[in-house]
Structures are given as C-alpha cells and as structure tokens.
C-alpha cells in the first residue's frame, strides 16, 4: 500500500477582495508540514479528500 500518511489536516483561510474563506489545507503528510491547494489535480489534495471520503480523516476548521 503506497498511500500517504496524513496525520493532520486543517483548513487555512485567506482574505481576498474583502471576503474571508477557506483557501488551502495545512497538513502533515509523511511527517512533513505542507500547505495544500484546494485543487483536485494536486496529488496531496486528492489523497486528503480520498481519506476524508473513506472516513479515515477529518479536516479541521480554520483557526
């Protein structure tokens, strides 16, 4: 099994044109802190969402 080991996932918000919204995910993947874009073509985002769908991972709300 070659899936990534995601031990933390939390949305990060940004402010753009006066609006604040979730814009990326701060994640710890295979022990490394990463910032993952909300892009289905990105392999880290795709894996995070696969694990969320499988019920093995929850993305925490932004601070």
């Amino acid at each position: 099994m070659n899936s990534m080991n995601v031990t933390l996932a939390q949305y990060a918000a940004t402010t753009y044109n006066g609006a604040t919204f979730n814009d990326s995910i701060k994640a710890t993947i295979d022990g490394i802190t990463m910032s993952v874009p909300l892009d289905p073509a990105n392999r880290h985002y795709a894996e995070i969402m696969r694990q969320v769908t499988a019920g093995t991972l929850t993305i925490e709300a932004a601070d």
Partner: protein
C-alpha cells in the same frame, strides 16, 4: 552503392546511433537531476527527480554506471526485504499509449548482495487498462541492458486521460542492492539507443513537477526568492518566479529559516501557505507569516538566510 541505398544506409546508421530525438517518455531516465538531495529513505519522492520509492531502505546517487555508455549517475536502491518494494515513475497522461500498439521499455541494471531479479516490472494504467504487463526480469551482478516490449490492450474510452506508471518491484524474499540508469520507454517494438539529453533540458522537464528555490549557489549569503507586499503586520503575499509551467497548483513546504525583509530589517518566517485563489500552474503566490512588525502595504521580499533555507514547490503526480 546507389545514392538512394547510401541514404537509407546513412539513415539506418543515424537510427542505430540514437540520433532520433524525443523518443523517451521517461523523464530523468539517466538519473541526472537530484533537486531534493542525493539520497532519501522516506516513502515517495525525496531525492532523484520524478522517481518515487516505497519500502526500500535507501535511494542514493551513485557514480557506478555502465562503461562507455555516456551515463554520469545511476540510482542505487538498497533493500532489506519486505513486501511491495517499488521504484517507480508515473508518466503524465499515459502519452503514447494506443490500443494494439507496442511500447518498449529498456534500462540498464546490475545487482549486488542477494538481489537476483525484479519480481515484476509493472506497466500500470490504473483507470483505463489496469496492469498492462508485469514481467519478471532476472538481473546479474554486472551492468546489462534489459528490454521489455508489451502490447497495449484494446480500450474504447480516451486513452490519454490517465497516468502510465513504470514500476520496478523486487522479490520480497531477497535483500541487497541494485543500480539502475538509462531507463527509456518508447512507442514501438524496438529499443533504440538511450536518448541522452542535456542537464538543462532534463532539469526543465523535471521542474514541471517539482521546483525548489534555495541558497545552494550562495552558501551563507542571502538569496532573494520572491517579492510581494504585506497585507497586515503579520502576513505578506509573495510571488515566487517559476520557469516551467507546473502540472497543477502546487503543494508548498519549506525548511530552514527564510526571512521577510524590506531591506531595513529581517523578520523570521513562522509559516508559509499556498494561496489557491491567486495561484495557477504558472503563478505561485504564497502567504508568508511572521510573528509581528510588518507594515501594511509595504513591499517585502522573501530571502534565504543560509543554504538550508529551501522553498519546495511540488506539483508531482
């Protein structure tokens, strides 16, 4: 010899000498580019560009290469024996896959210790074709070139929508090391000579999938990585120049101790995030946090403070 026969003979000689270009679908098949470092033991990517590993002990750069074949480096894979050992490269969009046509993989390899074979060399196309082929290959303790030709099965849907993966799996009952270089995948049933490319050409191909900015040429002196402006006293938005269109919006990570600066005072970076909304495959905008002290709307630059300050931009498959 007639002029036509002479021309055909010359063409044949050029073919045999590897003069035809852009045949190789593998990127970094000669193991020239090592942006991330010269060895790694963690799962996935970590040293040699475009090549992933799983369940091996160590991947490292080696100068043990076939004699007089034009290679500078090989990848050395150390293996202690476990299930599902992979050394693999995914190829974007399965380029060149056509139902009923052949593709040919060739590579140079040699083994040491107790390694005697690849249990499987997988040709994988998960969504459309599944496992196209997975032959076993015996390898010896001297450099040899191996060639595998497989026929792509029939498939009615789009054949360009999925990733083709070439994957070398070891026998889990064995342990030792093997070396590999000169990996080439080409359309057709013939293994042509390895297509050597310049370092710059290969690096540019790799940077579609992974790119990093670092101080590696400056030592301890500061290198400027990108420019932007502060939106508050703790956050600046910085654009990092990139030189190849990325495959997708990238994941960002960093190591070391980069700074923000307005040329009068440095501010230690505490976090970096990709900005999905303002980034694209050819523009990387990051949100950079510091503890305090920025002046809103003032221009800042992001700089490396030593040769361990690295911004990693990952758009890999």
């Amino acid at each position: 010899m007639s002029s036509k026969a002479r021309g055909l003979a010359d063409l044949g000689n050029a073919f045999d000498d590897g003069a035809l270009s852009n045949r190789n679908m593998i990127i970094n098949g000669a193991m020239q580019v090592w942006q991330r470092g010269t060895s790694h033991s963690t799962s996935g990517y970590g040293s040699v560009d475009r090549w992933q590993q799983f369940n091996n002990t160590l991947i490292s750069r080696s100068t043990d290469v076939p004699t007089n074949e034009g290679f500078q480096y090989s990848s050395k894979i150390d293996f202690a024996g476990s299930a599902d050992s992979n050394f693999q490269q995914p190829i974007e969009n399965g380029i060149g896959l056509t139902s009923g046509k052949s593709v040919t993989l060739s590579f140079w390899a040699k083994a040491t210790g107790g390694i005697t074979r690849f249990e499987n060399v997988f040709f994988l196309n998960v969504t459309n074709f599944g496992i196209i082929a997975s032959p076993a290959v015996s390898i010896t303790n001297s450099w040899q070139r191996y060639t595998l030709t497989v026929t792509v099965p029939s498939y009615s849907a789009s054949q360009y929508s999925d990733v083709l993966q070439i994957r070398f799996d070891l026998d889990p009952t064995e342990s030792g090391s093997y070396y590999i270089t000169g990996v080439q995948l080409e359309v057709g049933d013939t293994a042509t000579p390895f297509e050597h490319r310049s370092y710059g050409d290969e690096l540019a191909r790799c940077q579609r999938y992974y790119y990093q900015v670092s101080n590696d040429e400056q030592g301890s002196a500061a290198t400027r990585y990108g420019y932007g402006h502060a939106i508050s006293t703790t956050i600046a938005k910085i654009i990092i120049p990139i030189y190849a269109r990325l495959r997708t919006k990238p994941t960002i990570s960093y190591s070391g101790t980069p700074n923000l600066s307005d040329a009068t005072a440095p501010f230690a970076v505490t976090a970096i995030a990709i900005e999905t909304v303002t980034s694209s495959s050819n523009t990387v905008c990051i949100s950079v946090n510091v503890a305090s002290g920025l002046t809103q709307f003032r221009n800042y630059y992001l700089e490396g403070t030593n040769n361990t300050s690295v911004i990693k931009i990952d758009a890999e498959l």
